[in-house]
Amino acid sequence: MSDADKIKTSRDQTYMFQSQSQSATGKSAADKAAPAPPGLLANYQQTRGAFDEFLGDEGAPRAHYSGLTQSLDELGSAELERRQETCQRLVHEQGITYNVYDDPRGLERPWQLDPVPLLISSDEWKSLETALIQRATLINLVLADCYGPQELIRSGWLPPALVFAQPDFLRPCHGTKPRGDTFLHFYAADLARSPDGQWWVMSDRTQIPTGAGYALANRLVTSRILPEAFRDGHVRRLSGFFREVQKTLMGLAQRRTDNPRIVLLTPGPYNETYFEQTYLARYLGYMLVEGQDLTVRDDKVFLKTLSGLEQVDVILRRVDDDWCDPLELRNDSMLGVPGLVEALRSGNVTVANAPGSGLLQSAAFLSFLPGLCRHVLDEELKLPSVATWWCGQESARSYVLENLDELFIKNAFRSRSRIMSPDKKLTAAELNLLRRRIEFKPELFIGQEWMKLSTAPSWGSNGVSPRRVSLRVYLVATGEGYRVLPGGLTRVAAKDGSQAVAMQRGGSSKDTWVLDEKPVDEVSLLQPAGGKIELRRVGNNLPSRMADNFFWLGRYAERADASARMLRSALLRFSPERTGSSMPVLAPLLHTLEIQGQLTRSDVETGMRHNSEALEADLLAAIYDPARPGSLCSTAGHLRRLAMLARDRTSNDVWRVLSQMEERLVRPTASIVMLAGDAVGVLNQTLLGLAAFHGLARENMTRAQGWRFLDMGYRIERMMYLCTMLDSALLSPEADNPSVLEAVLEVCDSTITYRSRYNLVPNIAAVYDLVLLDDTNPRSLLFQLIQLVKHFERLPKERDSALPSPGQRILLESVTRVRLLDPRGIYGMEGHWHESEVGRVVHEILRDLPRLSDAIAVSYFAHSAISRTGQGGQA
């Protein structure tokens, strides 16, 4: 993804502020506070000029908070501190992250979650719910009109410029009639509460309403760290809403089938909410796909899988609408699916939200909603929006220009840049420039009132204190109208007194508890029991791109394993005192590590390293140096990134194992002297981590295509390291030196087996028999080859063809070569080991392995990129 894409997706975060003069004066209000709440919240001080969610006008706690405060008091501050730590650990372990662009600390940032939830009483929620449903219904009708008859424009209810000047008015989508005239399947609104207790809409999210997945993740963590309060508080559950989401999407399929294919279209792992996308895909049971996984044929959308094309019925879209189809929308988009808009017109696929729905996200619409509501629904708008003036209209423009330094000036339409920030007032010169810009293109600007956000109890270093909050709520368009998620994503300012709540600006989040009067029912997301279901033994077909990821996940896992083993063997044999004498033993190991890119190439005679200090430093760099492409630490990074790409298909345990492994390989701080012995300890732990990864894969993955490609990757990599090492060993005149043979056995994890069979000093033919030919030894070359042959037999395309595929041909040749090998032929080849039959076979297999890997890639992962055809310009 290009930088421009990243910037694009990071745009239009909502920032909410209150005026500077309001924040610092909390003290005087607290002095007046009447009965102080007991316990933990005893020092909680209401902020003057702001509504407090917990304390009422008289400084007395609001009734609906009593259960929670009582529960928190019972826990006490030390226990709450401990639970806060648990909260952080859970967030970390579940890998809940948020991508922050251009962040020096790296792309992924752990999600910030405040353990104290925001509470909303049931009565208050009921009125919010009705108001939100009205608003979503209205917005959907306005969208349907703008993309259809445009009556509202012609009759003057909507200023034409508001639609026509907007880059988010996608003309190619005009006239696409989505199913049931629903453009807005999902809707979110950012709410804030003013000092008088009134809820206001700060912004409408109609393009891609993000955050419901984070709300769900917050719930899972918060309900675990505050189980008592959660249980006793009659907190309304979230799962029912997601059940509605599933039903809604299912109902959008055009084909009459009990199992329509629904996919979640992601812009990829660099998108800010990639975690949420994988999380939702897994939770809702949909496949996570990128644009290149889909293709349009005959105006239908298909998923490219290993065994061919499979029709897609519904696309849950996380790619911005103008990036969805490079043919008809932005033609520089590589995130989309060419031909998608035409497929939409044909009605063969439904995209949610419908492309074009981003139009109503413009804050300029806010000031027209009351009038539209009266005209379209014949009702008053129930939930007011923050006061907004769109400069496209003369009177609003004059108002904004007259009050320029009092208002919050924003771009009316989507834009990469921000005009004002709460931290810095514009200078007189800047204001003048802004004035000229507004006068030149007024339709591009709006002025808004600065909103004073309410405060709610939040956990910080000083215990529980008030912080500014805003609430994002979510709706889904079901067959019976809109439904509201009973809860939401509460965003909270990072510090006491701070005004910015955006996650991109370091804000935190909270779970949101909507309380019910009576105990609530549990809803499960799985199929309702009792219904008949078609039994299946195979999962959904694997997209080719995912097979590619699994294959490389396997290869990198084995690369980490093999290089860790070799580095450990090398470090154990390495002694600064006897560099010279240990060299023959070390040489094959070091040579293999050089060839595979862990060690730097020695410029002296191959394998000869006399400077022990330099060698030690090089070995340590092979473990810790993130700048060295082959280092263990880089490999662990690759592994974690691949696991992230396959995140909707791997368990949390896999994720946990891999991220712990990567953390362990972070170089200790410079002040600590690194010892070879410490490094061996780290390598041991890394190997245990990898064993856990392999174990999880072997025991937990069904033997479907994903597992098959993972295993193939790992077999090929294992052969690569084994053959490289044997090849190096045989080049050395000391190949039959028992110490060298012991090292071979150790790296192949075959020492015990060897001892149990021969019980004497290693013999070269016996050792090579065990590591090459013994098909009962899971580390032998033949064992890997046989596993690969088995996998190949089960791959979809291989079964159809009469002749062996190129990959199969290489495999069969290799198996035959190894099977026909007599290791005893090596006797009498002293000093010329490499020319023996054993040496020749090892060398040939080493030569063929990259060809085998390429053959697999060509047959299964070939996804040629899309591009634009050249255009003849007009002359």
Binding site: R297, N331, F440, S867, Q871
Partner: protein, 290 residues
């Protein structure tokens, strides 16, 4: 005048293309002065799917996709059209430009809602104070609108050098303005953005131009290219075309194919291919009077 126009586009792909989707806007529009007597589109290889529809601006678009592996693609549109000559508008009698600009300020009357959408920034064009300054030299106080446009049209032709290698389809207007060079597409864009910078509605017209061979020479077949110019909306006269490349008001030697807010909306042929590699496109246009 009657014309037979053959517009051929050919692609040679160095690598096979597995699937491709295209949109072609190569069917001349019909309007008061232009009739389409026949039209044919031949595509090789024969597309699996092919259909015609109108886009948002009423241009005819042919969507097609080729789903078999192919290494060449050739699209030939043959149009027979008749174009009537028009009497040039009496430019000095048109409304003064300030009054027109005022009509296109919110709230606009329902009659001008349609042209109103050509007043704003579009995918390739941004109005700017610099462009407004450039335009204003032709629009002194109370200049009749079309007189101003005619002068702007003349100045673009005079100030900018026609240079087919200076720009590509992707060259931004700022660069054209700095280099003072370009082709018809750039000049049309320049005129449109300059007029929009004054608050006047202007649109991009894609089409063909009859070319005359030099005195005493044969007409070369296929030597023409597709052409572009711009059109402004004048409340009393409707849309009036101007060709800044040739400093003239089009009459019966310009054939209109499509119009939109800028080139991106009327690209004669655009496509997205899977595979194909770096390829060349060859375009030939032949406008033959019949």
């Amino acid at each position: 005048m009657n014309y037979r126009i053959i517009h051929r586009t050919a692609y040679d792909y160095p690598e096979p293309v597995t699937v491709s989707h295209h949109a072609a806007r190569v069917k001349p529009r019909t309007n008061v002065t232009q009739q389409r007597d026949s039209w044919e589109l031949v595509i090789k290889p024969e597309p699996a799917l092919r259909k015609m529809r109108s886009d948002y601006f009423g241009n005819r678009v042919c969507f097609f996709s080729i789903q078999e592996i192919h290494e060449q693609l050739e699209i030939t549109a043959t149009s027979v059209v008749s174009v009537e000559s028009v009497t040039p508008p009496a430019v000095s009698l048109s409304l003064v430009w300030e009054r027109v600009a005022a009509m296109f300020r919110d709230p606009v009357s329902p009659e001008v809602v349609e042209p109103y959408q050509f007043c704003f920034d579009s995918p390739l064009l941004r109005a700017s104070p610099e462009l407004a300054d450039y335009a204003r030299q032709s629009f002194s106080k109370e200049t009749p609108m079309l007189a101003g446009v005619l002068d702007l049209n003349r100045r673009i032709c005079a100030d900018f050098k026609y240079d087919p290698v200076a720009t590509t389809v992707a060259t931004p207007l700022e660069e054209v303005l700095a280099k003072r060079r370009g082709v018809c597409q750039d000049f049309a864009h320049l005129g449109i953005a300059a007029l929009r910078s004054l608050g006047l509605p202007a649109r991009y017209v894609s089409g063909y131009l009859r070319t005359r061979p030099p005195e005493g020479k044969e007409r070369l077949i296929g030597a023409d290219a597709s052409h572009a110019w711009f059109s402004v909306y004048c409340p009393d006269l409707g849309w009036v075309d101007f060709d800044p490349t040739n400093d003239l008001i089009p009459s019966d030697e310009h054939i209109t194919v499509a119009y939109g807010r800028d080139f991106s909306e009327v690209t004669p042929l655009c496509g997205i291919i899977t595979g194909g590699g770096a390829h060349e496109v060859r375009v030939s246009v032949d406008v033959k009077p019949i």
